[in-house]
């Protein structure tokens, strides 16, 4: 299923770009990611414990950044497998300055298989949207000057 949207982050594109390329920040902001270990340039091995409400599952997979045009756009791919099945996310992020802030537009596709597919489209799509929202929220928080 296809997903798209936009989110405004409280910093200039250069700062956002930096955060997006920082594995420590990525690990913190990608929902459920417990660890992110480098596996080649712009490629990470991820352990994910995903959780939304009563639903949860453990996955291992990869996070990959590609087609990078700093600080304008990149492609972010995640693919993970676990006992409940697999999910693949493939999205493009486009950054644009908006005053002192950055508007990130995203467009991508989510694919799930195995038991995850049994959850039904409604749940999967809603969970994906929620995850994207959380991703940007954490990213936004990381861009705000820390209080002290």
């Amino acid at each position: 299923m296809k997903l798209e949207g936009r989110y405004t982050l409280p910093a200039a594109p250069a700062a956002v770009w930096e955060r997006l390329n920082d594995p420590a920040i990525l690990a913190k902001s990608l929902p459920g990611v417990e660890s992110l270990e480098p596996d080649g340039p712009d490629r990470y091995r991820a352990r994910i414990q995903y959780r939304v409400g009563a639903i949860s599952g453990n996955f291992v997979g990869t996070v990959e950044l590609s087609e990078k045009k700093p600080p304008h756009s990149m492609r972010l791919k995640t693919s993970a497998r676990g006992a409940p099945g697999f999910f693949n996310g493939d999205g493009r992020l486009a950054l644009a300055a908006k005053g002192a802030e950055t508007e990130v537009r995203y467009a991508g596709e989510i694919q799930v298989g195995g038991m995850l597919a049994a959850l039904g489209q409604r749940m999967v799509e809603s969970a994906a949207r929620k995850s994207i929202e959380e991703f940007f929220q954490v990213l936004a928080a990381s861009l705000k000057p820390s209080p002290g």
Partner: protein, 292 residues
């Protein structure tokens, strides 16, 4: 359809249940009627290490009137609520909503507390408790607090309940005179969940003006919500068919409807307007003392 291994507890009192929740925290799941949790566990989309079965905490199943409010225990089943004379008399909207849930088997097992705590975006009760301005009572080891329905549904499958809390009861205002309410629902034909569910509650003054109104909407968005734009279009007005239809058309205003194989966003939006109008019309008839 076999869940992963888990440790099972069957506390006999709320205190005992709270202690267990406190001890096992995030790795525990509360089991009420089991109609949301067990399917997920059997598909292994949920694998809690501890399951705390509330089934023996009898006190949580009571339905009573207390201090001018109807109090429904979290473990009251949909069938209990649907068939309770007290609920039918004091809060008919809740009984009507319960009667529209799933099928007989589901209603015999599923509970109101379980349904509210799971917060499925297409569950029926959220529409009713929102429309009714109900209060949800949550107990923890240290305190008991009351959460207004309007603040309870936070996000997809996510409520305002905190770790360590157990939803114990729902407090509902008792229907007054010249009040009417109705729940109208478009069923997802396979699961019986709401593709669109509208709970309308209103009361009229002696001049026939709407003095109070609540419209709860479920199934349409990622979480249940109050259709405030539609409510405002009717508040303090003397209703006529056009006014009602125009107000109903605002029921999904500002909302990004869900879309899936059962209903597109456009169909959800259009159906929400139709069902909202029908729910309001039925509530008005009932407020006027007519049968629907």
């Amino acid at each position: 359809m076999i869940p992963a291994a888990f440790e099972y507890f069957a506390p006999k009192s709320l205190d005992e249940a709270l202690r267990l929740v406190d001890r096992h925290g995030g790795e525990a799941k509360l089991l009420a009627g089991g109609h949301s949790l067990l399917p997920l566990m059997k598909l292994r989309l949920a694998a809690p290490r501890y399951v705390i079965d509330l089934g023996r905490v009898r006190a949580l199943r009571s339905i009573r009137e207390e201090g001018g409010r109807l109090v429904v225990g979290a473990l009251a089943t949909h069938a209990d609520i649907e068939s309770s004379d007290l609920v039918r008399l004091k809060c008919p909207l809740l009984a009507e909503t319960a009667s529209e849930i799933g099928d007989v088997q589901v209603r015999n097992r599923g509970t109101i507390g379980g349904s509210l705590a799971h917060a499925d975006p297409a569950a029926d009760y959220p529409a009713a408790v929102l429309a009714l301005d109900a209060e949800i009572v949550a107990a923890s080891n240290s305190a008991t607090r009351t959460i207004p329905a309007a603040e309870f549904f936070v996000d997809l499958l996510t409520t305002a309940l905190r770790p360590g809390e157990i939803l114990t009861e729902i407090r509902l205002p008792v229907a007054g005179r010249q009040a009417g309410a109705a729940y109208r629902k478009l069923h997802q034909p396979a699961s019986g969940f709401a593709l669109v569910g509208i709970a309308a509650r209103l009361s009229l003054d002696s001049a026939g003006r709407i003095v109070s109104i609540g419209l709860g909407v479920t199934g349409v968005a990622v979480r249940a919500y109050r259709a405030t734009a539609a409510e405002q279009a009717l508040a303090s007005k003397k209703p006529n068919p056009k006014l009602v239809a125009d107000a109903a058309a605002k029921v999904a205003e500002g909302v990004e409807p869900l879309a899936d194989i059962h209903a597109s966003a456009a169909y959800r939006r259009a159906s929400a307007a139709v069902y909202a109008r029908r729910a309001i019309e039925a509530a008005l008839l009932r407020a006027a003392g007519k049968k629907t």
